[in-house]
């Protein structure tokens, strides 16, 4: 008699793990690998939907791996936020997997592409479910290893250079994370997040707790690429092949943001007086530096990379204000942003295929050559800038509204200004790549075959439709985000689900 909870929580870990395993075992059999990837993406989507349906009413599901009881073993936990993140991971897995079938870079090294993509999804989906700090660290490592492999796919000199920067700086962040985990274990005697949440207030040396909280914040801030630790991101993302860049842009930094939200709502809630002001500073800096960096660049992927950074700033605004409404704003923003950002990177890849270049100076006349591409670009681009009625409008509205409600006027002001500058960047891409006459030296690109068009545009259209749907029917997702924000702020359900009735209050 199978136990429903154990299944629901284990499947999002198990499916991509087996996909990576069989994908590697089928080395040299591309047809089987392709079928496997499509099959696992569909399975993961179904599993994520079931999980989300099970936690939508506010229950928190927890499963103790290997039947080792809570504060000692590894716990997988799914609350509203975690389940939503798993679902969006599954959507990204499906979208990039389909898109990659028409991507030359990915298909040239297909034998490695399939298992590496599955391994990345394995790490990301499991990180969202981790209820244990050390376990979270392990998932970060899984992500780092597989993303390193993905980054060098199609390996030119430029990519190896970028991968080295990426790997080295991320390793530093991971090491800081590990040191902080050790210190926190020394202070509280536990690695389980729920147990930690109960024990942290009782630690006599609160100064040491603050130091550890700062270390963890620095580690996750580097992973999330926020100001001033963002420099690895624009140094590496623009060299990756299109589907890799898309899934990186969608998921990797967001795992860092997720870890920040989890840690600073559950383990170190607003009790740490310095957290709020530091987060305001980070949020404001991230939004501004990102958007100004984007304004200075003339290469599509570089512009988009800098916009990842500026958008992360909005998510941090929610954490800085830390009211349930503000955290709901962050949750909504993450969900909206992942879809829009991945879509823009996929479109950038299609622009390069149709127009022959990523450089705005060499692109031109795409509107005439392929009006559909222009339309498909307009949806996520305007959503990113926050124009109604697209998803970005509601996301920005929630964040700015929470800022006004908690009277952080200046933070809300910066958020609005950043939105305007984002619009400027998107218009720049539009005017240069789509509208202006093609330049003299515009490169010739081979026209897309019917099959390639279908594979490239299918995921783009689907993600665009999700953006539109969120924009037109924002109510359900906003209600869900508010409920998630409430659940993250109250904490009790999470702790009770993990530790059972009493827990081990010291």
């Amino acid at each position: 008699m199978p136990n429903r909870t154990d299944w629901l929580v284990a499947l999002p870990v198990l499916i991509p793990a087996l996909a990576a395993a069989f994908g590697a075992a089928l080395h040299g059999r591309p047809r089987a690998q392709r079928l496997l990837t499509l099959f696992s993406a569909a399975l993961l989507l179904a599993a994520a939907l079931l999980l989300l349906a099970a936690v939508a009413d506010g229950t928190v599901l927890a499963s103790q791996m290997g039947d080792w009881p809570a504060p000692f073993g590894i716990t997988l936990v799914a609350d509203r936020l975690a389940a939503a993140m798993v679902l969006i991971t599954a959507i990204m897995y499906a979208a990039t997997a389909v898109y990659a079938f028409a991507d030359r870079g990915a298909m040239a090294e297909e034998a490695l592409w399939h298992p590496l993509l599955a391994a990345l999804v394995f790490g990301v989906a499991s990180a969202f479910l981790a209820g244990d700090l050390f376990n979270l660290y392990v998932w970060f490592e899984v992500m780092l290893i597989s993303s390193f492999g993905l980054l060098v796919l199609g390996g030119g000199r430029e990519q190896l250079d970028a991968a080295l920067t990426y790997g080295l700086l991320n390793l530093v962040a991971t090491t800081v994370f590990l040191i902080a985990v050790g210190m926190l274990y020394g202070l509280t005697g536990t690695l389980n997040l729920a147990d930690m949440a109960l024990r942290v207030p009782g630690v006599p040396n609160q100064g040491a707790v603050a130091a550890v909280a700062f270390l963890l914040m620095a580690a996750f801030a580097a992973k999330a690429a926020v100001f001033p630790l963002f420099f690895w991101l624009p140094a590496s993302y623009h060299t990756a092949i299109a589907p890799v860049a898309a899934i990186f842009a969608a998921l990797l930094t967001k795992v860092g943001v997720y870890a920040l939200i989890r840690l600073f709502t559950l383990v170190f809630p607003a009790s740490q007086g310095w957290v709020g002001p530091l987060m305001w500073f980070i949020a404001a800096g991230t939004m501004l530096v990102g958007v100004l960096g984007a304004a200075a660049h003339w290469e599509v992927r570089r512009i988009l990379s800098f916009h990842i950074i500026s958008q992360i700033g909005y998510m941090i605004v929610g954490l800085a204000i830390a009211t349930p409404l503000a955290i709901a704003g962050s949750v909504f923003y993450i969900l909206h942003h992942i879809i829009v950002k991945a879509n823009l990177f996929l479109i950038a890849g299609a622009m390069q295929r149709i127009g022959g270049s990523f450089s705005l100076a060499r692109l031109g006349g795409l509107w005439r050559r392929d009006p559909w591409l222009g339309l498909l670009f307009a949806v996520p681009a305007l959503s990113l800038a926050g124009l109604p009625p697209l998803s970005g409008f509601w996301a920005k509205l929630l964040v700015v509204q929470s800022g006004f409600a908690a009277s952080y006027w200046w933070l809300a002001g910066i958020a609005l200004a950043t939105g305007l500058l984002t619009l400027y960047s998107m218009l720049k891409i539009w005017l240069e790549a789509f509208w202006k006459e093609p330049p003299e030296d515009a490169p010739e690109a081979a026209p897309l075959s019917r099959r390639e068009r279908l594979l490239l545009f299918g995921p783009v259209v689907s993600l665009g439709l999700i953006t539109l749907a969120i924009g037109l029917w924002a109510e359900p997702l906003a209600a869900f985000a508010l409920a998630a924000g409430e659940q993250l702020s109250t904490r009790q359900e999470y702790i009770r689900a993990v530790l059972g009735g009493g827990g081990t209050t010291p």
Binding site: L18, A20, L26, H27, G66
Partner: protein, 132 residues
């Protein structure tokens, strides 16, 4: 180094000895120091020394499958060892099951999986260097 007659002649025996010893370490890990990780490393070293003597191509033939495929099989075994608990016993993922009265159980499958993952990944990274 490939020209050394002694090295070439002994390579096969060294490989067999290393693999047998690595399996011993794997099984010993049940209750004593050892286990899949260290066993996999020892096994990989056996194949590397074989590769030094006979070349990477011969090592790949001796492995039958691509090293990355062995790693995949290992990961599949490790993940599958957690499934009986979910499927038949209504327990959490990776709760290990035992053949009644014996020390045999799904933990051995898990450890064998770790062994193959380490062996496979180790050789995936090392063999290209022997090819140069």
């Amino acid at each position: 180094m490939k020209d050394s007659l002694i090295l070439r002649a002994s390579a096969g025996y060294v490989l067999v000895a290393a693999v047998v010893f690595s399996l011993f370490v794997l099984l010993r890990g049940h209750n004593e120091p050892g286990g899949g990780f260290i066993g996999g490393l020892i096994g990989a070293l056996g194949f590397v020394s074989y590769g030094l003597a006979r070349g990477a191509a011969a090592t790949r033939r001796a492995l039958r499958l691509a090293p990355i495929a062995w790693a995949g099989i290992g990961l599949a075994l490790a993940a599958a060892s957690g499934l009986p608990a979910l499927l038949w016993h209504g327990e959490a993922f990776l709760t290990h099951q035992w053949l009644s009265g014996t020390p045999l159980g799904t933990t051995l499958v898990f450890d064998l999986g770790v062994y193959l993952v380490v062996l496979g990944f180790g050789l995936t990274f090392v063999l290209p260097f022997l090819e140069e």
